[in-house]
């Protein structure tokens, strides 16, 4: 029977229950290999917004990196105008984007931020620690704002308003404390044409003052370029002077007598000897002369040794856009010159672009779509293998079977390559997280008045894009903890004869199919005994339990919910929330976190993560006829269940009064059948249900280990270990998300339900307490 639809009428789009339909499909009887072709419409507006957000985020990231470089340069006393210019241009672009796509707070913030940058560039306000703080705070706020827009949440208005106010305040305050260099130098005392001085932009004037104030010499050159090759000419000029000095300005003189060429007057500041400069400019046919002070006859003294050599490739084109200029001698070439400047800047960008491999930005959904297709492709070899074995039965077709087997193996290999190729496109370097951490360390250290150096190695290690995003929060938390709790105050460090400046080191590397991120501080470290005592004091564990804790178990106590080593919450951390969240988040990504510490030496957190989320390593098990996938990260071991060894335990174990346990490795292991855990609603089981032992069938025990919770999950069969591609559960099954993390096609026509083990174990522990305690009270009576 064919149900093929001859002609669908359009315009019958009917909405029911407010839900939208968008499904087109051909309908055929199954089994004839009919392709399902469907397409979901995409709203162009949404697409543009996601593009905008991605681009804006990239700009903010780039600006953040540049700021970090600037901060570092500043601490060496060499605040390069180049870097400040880069940040300025980035924010300028962001402002433009915001104006186009997202009028409102983002644009306002970008504008005010740009204003501050402009003041810094022009030397109106000094680039000090305070200004740097504001700049970094701005980057954070841009991030928060963009994240809110992306998540469709209301814009964090109070936060942005607070920053806007701070920006305005600082510009007023800083503006009064006018920067040192300018003002002191009277440019009029140089033998410069006043007409030239009159047309310098504020930035050019600032650069000029700064240069002569630092003892650089001022040169004037005239050079003639053919109009047709003006761009190339200026490019050459810049290249020749790049290591020798800084071009302050180019001005058309308007003296040229022919219409095919243009005369430029160039102001250059430099520390180089005049003959070197002259030699560099000679091939261009430029005339060079030094501009001296009106009141001196000798060249100015040699530059002070401490002044840094400034190299600026005059890349402030974007900043000049829109500024009107008049040439001193007339304005007939004005338009041409401006075009020339723009042309050069475009040339610059091309040059930069050529150094890198061209890239495209791809929505992650598209890559996921491809992965799904590859998943289907992966099934083909199974079908071919079945065909092979039936061909092999017949002596006449045995040869073909061999041929087919060869083809199948080749197919498998290629599918594998496509798969890893697609997975590789999701990979990004860890560097983007490292940048955020560097900013965070800087800020936390400042607020907590600690001195910390953050060293990162292995930032180039690649991880799944989504993984990197999810990793940021946990790492930020660890870093915050390390600086706030780990690194001691200066006085303490001096007493312990440790370097005054603490060190926080991040090291990332790939290890097989996993990525390891280590975060190590040289701070106070932790005493295992103190941790145990604290946990007992907080009522998280009983004193009896405490006695059984070994060194490593003691360290893992910090991951218990509610654990804190501080009597009172500090301003930055120590509220007793967080480490458990770190652990849970990392576990949700299929990873683990371990801690090692030595009192007075420091602590080290080791995060081990799967290289991509797309492939999750699981143990495939069967329980109650359903196939489940248990993420390997929290599994300890698997062994056959000896039903006769199961005991009802009178021991208090994880808050439970009575339960079925299995003596295992000198500690009773609580048991729970997976089928019961998942399928029986919590209220279904009460103290009167038949004992576990009566319900247990021979099977296997899978030991799941979470901090403070270790349970044996009973399953009927174990099907081995496998790497799977996890698919999200359909929306219709969203209530199952409390215990399932997704589902997967196991490749043999079976669906594996991916269990959220952490949630299941938590529920087991939580549900056990209220249910069993009345009975316990009865027993005591």
């Amino acid at each position: 029977m064919s149900l093929r639809d001859p002609g669908r009428g359009d315009g019958e789009d009917v909405r029911e229950d407010g839900a939208e339909f968008d499904a087109h499909a051909s309908v055929r009887e199954a089994g004839d290999g009919a392709e399902l072709y469907t397409h979901a419409s995409s709203e162009p507006g949404l697409l543009l917004e996601s593009e905008f957000l991605a681009e804006a985020q990239e700009i903010v990231d780039a600006a953040s990196r540049t700021l970090l470089a600037l901060d570092e340069a500043r601490s060496r006393g060499d605040a390069s105008p180049l870097l400040l210019g880069d940040v300025f241009r980035a924010v300028h672009t962001l402002k433009g984007l915001a104006g186009l796509f997202r009028p409102g707070l983002l644009g306002t913030l970008a504008h005010e931020y740009e204003e501050l940058l402009q003041d810094l560039r022009l030397g109106r306000t000094p680039l000090d620690g305070e200004a740097m703080d504001l700049l970094f705070r701005g980057i954070e706020t841009f991030g928060v704002l963009l994240a809110a827009i992306e998540a469709g949440l209301p814009e964090p208005e109070p936060e942005v308003r607070a920053l806007l106010a701070a920006l305005a305040r600082s510009r007023n305050a800083l503006g009064r404390a006018k920067s040192d260099h300018d003002g002191a130098v009277k440019l009029e005392s140089w033998a410069l044409d006043p007409n030239i001085l009159a047309v310098l932009t504020e930035y050019e004037e600032h650069r000029l003052r700064l240069a002569v104030a630092s003892g650089q010499r001022l040169f004037r050159a005239e050079v003639r370029f053919a109009l047709a090759t003006l761009d190339d000419g200026i490019e050459q000029l810049k290249t020749r002077l790049i290591d020798l000095g800084e071009i302050v300005t180019y001005l058309p003189t308007g003296d040229g007598d022919d219409l095919l060429s243009i005369d430029l007057e160039i102001l250059v500041v430099s520390r180089a000897p005049v003959d070197l400069l002259a030699a560099a400019l000679e091939p261009l046919g430029a005339r060079l002369e030094e501009v001296r002070r009106r009141d001196e006859t000798l060249p100015p003294p040699a530059a002070p040794a401490e002044a840094a050599v400034l190299r600026d490739r005059d890349r402030d084109d974007a900043a000049e856009t829109g500024e009107t200029r008049a040439s001193p001698g007339g304005d007939k070439h004005l338009a041409v010159v401006d075009e020339g400047r723009e042309g050069r800047s475009a040339g610059d960008r091309n040059e930069q672009a050529l150094e890198r491999v061209p890239t495209v930005r791809v929505a992650i959904d598209r890559i996921d779509g491809l992965l799904d297709v590859v998943g289907e492709l992966g099934l083909l070899p199974f079908a071919v293998a079945r065909l092979e074995s039936s061909l092999r039965q017949n002596p006449l077709t045995r040869r073909e079977a061999g041929e087919l087997s060869r083809l199948r193996r080749s197919l498998e290999r290629h599918i594998g390559r496509i798969r890893s190729g697609i997975l590789a496109t999701r990979m990004v370097p860890l560097a983007q997280v490292v940048d955020r951490l560097t900013r965070a360390v800087r800020q936390i250290a400042r607020e907590g008045e600690k001195q910390v150096t953050f060293v990162a190695t292995g930032a180039e290690t690649e991880l799944d894009k989504l993984l990197v995003e999810e990793l940021t929060e946990p790492l930020l938390h660890l870093v915050r903890n390390a600086v706030d709790h780990g690194i001691e105050a200066k006085a303490t460090r001096e007493r312990l004869q440790k370097p005054v400046v603490g060190t926080l080191a991040l090291n990332a590397f790939q290890k097989g199919n996993q990525v390891v991120v280590e975060l190590e501080d040289d701070g106070a470290g932790m005493h295992p005994e103190a941790l145990v005592a604290r946990a007992i004091g907080l009522g998280l564990i009983s004193p009896e339990e405490g006695r059984t804790y070994g060194r490593n178990e003691a360290f893992s106590l910090v991951f218990l919910p509610g654990f804190t080593t501080r009597a009172e919450a500090g301003p930055l951390s120590g509220r007793g929330v967080g480490m458990d969240v770190v652990k849970t988040n990392i576990a949700a990504l299929g990873g683990t976190v371990e801690v090692e510490s030595e009192p007075d030496i420091g602590s080290k957190f080791t995060l081990t993560l799967p290289i991509t989320l797309a492939v999750l390593q699981v143990l495939v098990v069967v329980a109650d006829g359903t196939t489940f996938c248990l993420p390997l990260a929290n599994l300890e071991e698997v062994f056959p269940l000896d039903v006769n060894a199961v005991r009802r335990s009178p021991l208090r174990e994880m808050g439970r009064e009575i339960q079925e346990v299995l003596p295992h490795r000198d500690a009773p292991l609580p048991l729970a059948p997976l089928g019961t855990l998942l399928f029986d609603a919590p209220e279904a089981g009460d103290a009167r249900t038949p004992s576990l032992r009566e319900r247990l069938r021979p099977g296997f025990v899978v030991v799941a280990n979470f901090p403070g919770k270790r349970i044996g999950i009973v399953v009927d069969a174990v099907d081995g270990q496998q790497g799977i591609v996890v698919k999200a559960l359909p929306a219709a099954l969203r209530s199952a998300r409390s215990v399932l993390a997704g589902a997967t096609d196991l490749g043999d026509h079976r669906i594996g339900l991916v269990v959220d083990l952490g949630a299941v174990v938590d529920e087991f522990v939580r549900e056990a307490r209220p249910r069993l305690s009345p009975l316990a009270i009865e027993e005591r009576l």
Partner: protein
């Protein structure tokens, strides 16, 4: 009651036995939502879901949620042991676009939303025809369905989106 007549649509007509009163009722599914008809597949039971959801099956690598229509509409008692997808029965696969938040446990950034086409399947006894029907915009119980006139008599027209999300039911 005001009646609005809207443009006719094409539907697949299906029968479903076991309804209240033992009569055979006629159900209609929009052809533009119907993706394909499949033979009874192997079902994977899913924990913690509405009892009307039978589970998941795979259709060329894609996950399909199988819904027991009778149970969903509360038309018959649930018999877990009932071979509700006997060999002669069929499942009609419907496609709808679901808008959902990604699960951060799968690595999605928090609050990340996406629209994705999802597949649902409804078990039916037989598909008895395809025809163009005119509609009167008048909702009838069970909720989410509307009544259409067909050559075989009145039929309930069901939309995929209404089926995808079980109504909140009172605890017995």
């Amino acid at each position: 009651m005001t009646q609005l007549t809207v443009a006719p649509i094409e539907v697949a007509l299906c029968t479903l036995s076991g309804s209240a009163g033992g009569e055979e009722e006629l159900w209609a599914f929009r052809l533009d939502e119907a993706a394909e008809i499949v033979k009874p597949p192997t079902i994977t039971r899913v924990p913690r879901v509405d009892p009307s959801i039978r589970g998941l099956f795979l259709l060329r690598g894609r996950l399909v949620t199988l819904i027991d229509l009778g149970a969903r509409l509360g038309l018959r008692r649930l018999h877990p042991e009932l071979p509700w997808l006997a060999p002669q029965r069929r499942a009609i696969v419907l496609a709808h676009v679901a808008r959902r938040r990604d699960d951060p446990r799968l690595g999605a950034p928090r609050g990340h939303r996406r629209e994705e086409q999802e597949l649902l399947a409804i078990g039916v006894d037989a598909i008895v025809g395809v025809e163009r029907v005119s509609r009167e915009l008048r909702a009838v119980p069970p909720s989410g369905s509307e009544l259409v006139r067909t050559s075989r008599g009145p039929a309930f027209l069901l939309g995929a989106a209404a089926l995808a999300f079980p109504p909140r039911r009172e605890e017995p």
